[in-house]
Symmetry: C2
Subunit: 189 residues, 2 copies
């Protein structure tokens, strides 16, 4: 992290192809984000990312590590999940609880993320689609609730990507569109 290299030169795919958005399906495994990049974007240490991958909290979905010298490859949705974990930690939520939340979130990452909030209960997690849903959960819930606004998470990730690797944003936007994420949408009143 002391000497940030050119993102288009150390990627295995020519920058021109990335910028033109003409990637084939099988080439996705060649791009994505590597460990140190992920740390910078999400705002965590490499030690944390490594530990989380080893303990199965979140392994890179594009390409996992296979011995020294190999390279982990994280997808855009991995970044979102990692940022959710980071935000939960910042809010004082234990990694143990974050594990359960992420297990749930992974199964619903294809849904509309920006308008939803992740609501974590003692026992289970729920995706609340709007303010009404949250209001109901608060009124009927007996215990403590943890609420993660996913829209701001997506915005934080995009800001991190733009800041560090402007050229990579094109590929990320493709994946994000495929996941139906709209960072401009709010919670809706």
């Amino acid at each position: 992290m002391s000497t940030p290299s050119d993102p288009s030169s150390d990627a295995s795919v020519p920058a021109s192809i990335v910028e033109q958005g003409v990637l084939g399906e099988n080439q996705w495994e060649e791009i994505g984000y590597r460990g140190p990049q992920v740390c910078a974007i999400v705002g965590i240490t490499y030690r944390q990312l490594d530990y989380w991958a080893r303990t199965e909290l979140l392994r890179p979905s594009l390409c996992d590590a296979q011995g020294s010298g190999s390279k982990r490859r994280y997808s855009y949705l991995d970044l979102v999940a990692l940022k959710v974990i980071k935000n939960l930690l910042d809010a004082g939520v234990s990694l143990k609880t974050a594990r359960k939340a992420i297990d749930y979130l992974r199964e619903h990452l294809g849904e509309d993320l920006a308008t939803a909030s992740l609501v974590i209960d003692e026992n289970k997690s729920v995706l609340a689609r709007n303010g009404e849903d949250i209001f109901d959960l608060v009124r009927h819930g007996q215990g403590v609730l943890n609420i993660v606004p996913l829209g701001s998470v997506v915005r934080q990730i995009d800001a991190g990507i733009t800041e560090l690797h402007p050229s990579d944003l094109v590929a990320s936007l493709e994946e994000r569109d495929a996941a139906q994420i709209d960072p401009q949408a709010g919670l809706g009143s």
Copy 2:
């Protein structure tokens, strides 16, 4: 905890006086709840209660320990605060975050607890008086929110006291009335 003793006999104040509610001001230091009782009511281990007292998370407000053989005395409001901590832990919130929340809560324990919810942000804690307040916090908040419904906390404590020490409830109700707590009140729609 293996041999629960008679609560009216091991208290320093005759049960009749407690039941009649004719205690003087200075006699409050003689009653309250001792360590093992607190553990049973709140649902924590003695080791936790001890650790929390030593690390200044929550010390007994009626009488602190002063060497082996002495006895800690916890007030009813101490029980409420301890149960808030317990609920936060069950929700996966770290003790470190709980510390900050309790620091804030202690300064507002005199307010109407049952209709309020404790809302914990990355940086600060707030007492939300009704559903509208929570709704606003969720809508305008950028990060993760932890919400503790205090009404249910009070109900949990009362249930614990009633189950273990029916005769002690009278004194507790006095203190609770003084603190303007109404366990029947909900959040209010």
